[in-house]
Symmetry: C2
Subunit: 226 residues, 2 copies
DNA sequence: GCGCTATCCTGACGGCGTCAACATCGACGG
DNA sequence: CCGTCGATGTTGACGCCGTCAGGATAGCGC
């Protein structure tokens, strides 16, 4: 079984289990070809990015992985299982993206706070379909353990950031941390969601759209922090 | 053609076009039975609320409306057309809900501002599937005129509220109205989206969940305003 | 060497959206 | 008053989908 905590980007290179094997046109179908689960996840990632969640298809994933249409059932049960597994890795990757952005920021509370928001937005922009999947409640199995732990880890990261911001008396006057957390998450999540839905205010681009968005996030969270 | 600006809740009562007509068992199918378009929209509303967007089906809508599976095509083209029409009425209803909440609030800037947010949240809570549909970019036709005008009206309502809030020098220090609008919309939209996705922080209910959410919205927007 | 189980295939089923072909109704012009 | 014509419904078909049942294959412990 592949490592379920694998957070790396999907690899499209075939494992060495398929040598060219000369002009033999095709083997009479190989059962047990190694780690189909990983390859299915990789294929699903491509399908999701290409076709979106509306055009996502279990059979297409199987096709890309070179197996029959019923093969995924043995690893994921049904389509919900596959999407849930993808969502779990998505939360893990979101966590890593935010952590990387924080690590690259100057070691100062407000800057780290804004950097986290920038990381959130960057993940959403770079993986729009994956991001949308993670919050599409109806298509996920919320009893799945991997999903819960991955989502919780990302949430705890957020709580930690807010706590760090409030460690000194200056910022975020309201004493209720829950409200602070809710506000922080809602603001960045709302920004990301609206941008992805094409509803970002004033998108008619004079100038760079990306820069505008990043600047908005930066300004919003510096204001939120102070 | 029915009024495309109809914002009332769907009516389930049959139009008087079907008199009992004695014991005649059934007419050999009535073509032109009045306003199928309206009835299809009403049926679609029920299907959406019951099954969600994932379980939404054109054929089921046709079944509920008592017509054949291909009938909707004559009024909406394809499923995108129907969903787009529903999204348009959704934006109109959101606008009305917010307006009603503002009208019921004390005539003071901050209170009206918070009331609008409360209206936004109330609409999302009372029509979760409809609300989700309105922001599901991939299933809507964004060249549709009715959708554009309805969405723009709701957006202009938001812009007006922010402008009203900034009319006196006190609140929302940042001079950039665009940032204020973005922040306002993102915050309330993020709150609504996260609540609907079941990701609202600390949902484990000691006490009334609804009250907690409403109080959070209230507090968040009073803080945003001042 | 032998079954056991995980893995994978084939084939089938019902449901879906869409299209093409046909039926009917209402309206409008002769 | 009648004929035609477009708008509005119906029927049937197509291909695709997810899922399930049943059979094939391969590796592994005994």
């Amino acid at each position: 079984m592949p490592d379920p905590d694998d957070r790396s980007a999907p690899e499209t290179s075939a494992p060495p289990s398929e040598p060219p094997a000369g002009p033999k046109p095709r083997r009479p179908y190989h059962y047990h070809h190694g780690d189909l689960r990983t390859q299915l996840l990789a294929a699903a990632e491509v399908v999701l990015a290409e076709r979106g969640l509306e055009g996502f298809t279990l059979r297409e994933c199987a096709r890309r992985a070179g197996v029959s249409h019923a093969a995924p059932a043995h690893h994921f049960g049904d389509v919900t299982g596959l999407l849930t597994a993808m969502a779990a890795t998505g939360f893990a990757r979101l966590h890593d993206t935010i952590a990387a952005e924080i690590a690259a920021a100057p070691h100062e509370r407000t800057a780290r706070y804004a950097a986290a928001a920038k990381g959130y937005m960057r993940f959403a922009r770079d993986n729009p379909q994956h991001f949308a999947l993670m919050f599409r409640h109806a298509v996920l199995d919320h009893t799945d353990e991997a999903l819960c732990t991955a989502a919780s880890a990302a949430f705890e990261q957020l709580v930690g950031l807010v706590a760090e911001l409030r460690a000194t008396p200056a910022p975020l006057a309201h004493p209720d941390t829950r409200l602070d957390v809710a506000m922080t998450w809602a603001t960045i999540h709302g920004l990301a969601t609206l941008v992805l839905a094409g509803h970002f205010p004033f998108p008619s681009g004079q100038g760079d759209r990306e820069a505008t968005i990043t600047a908005t996030v930066e300004a919003a969270f510096r204001r939120l922090a102070g």
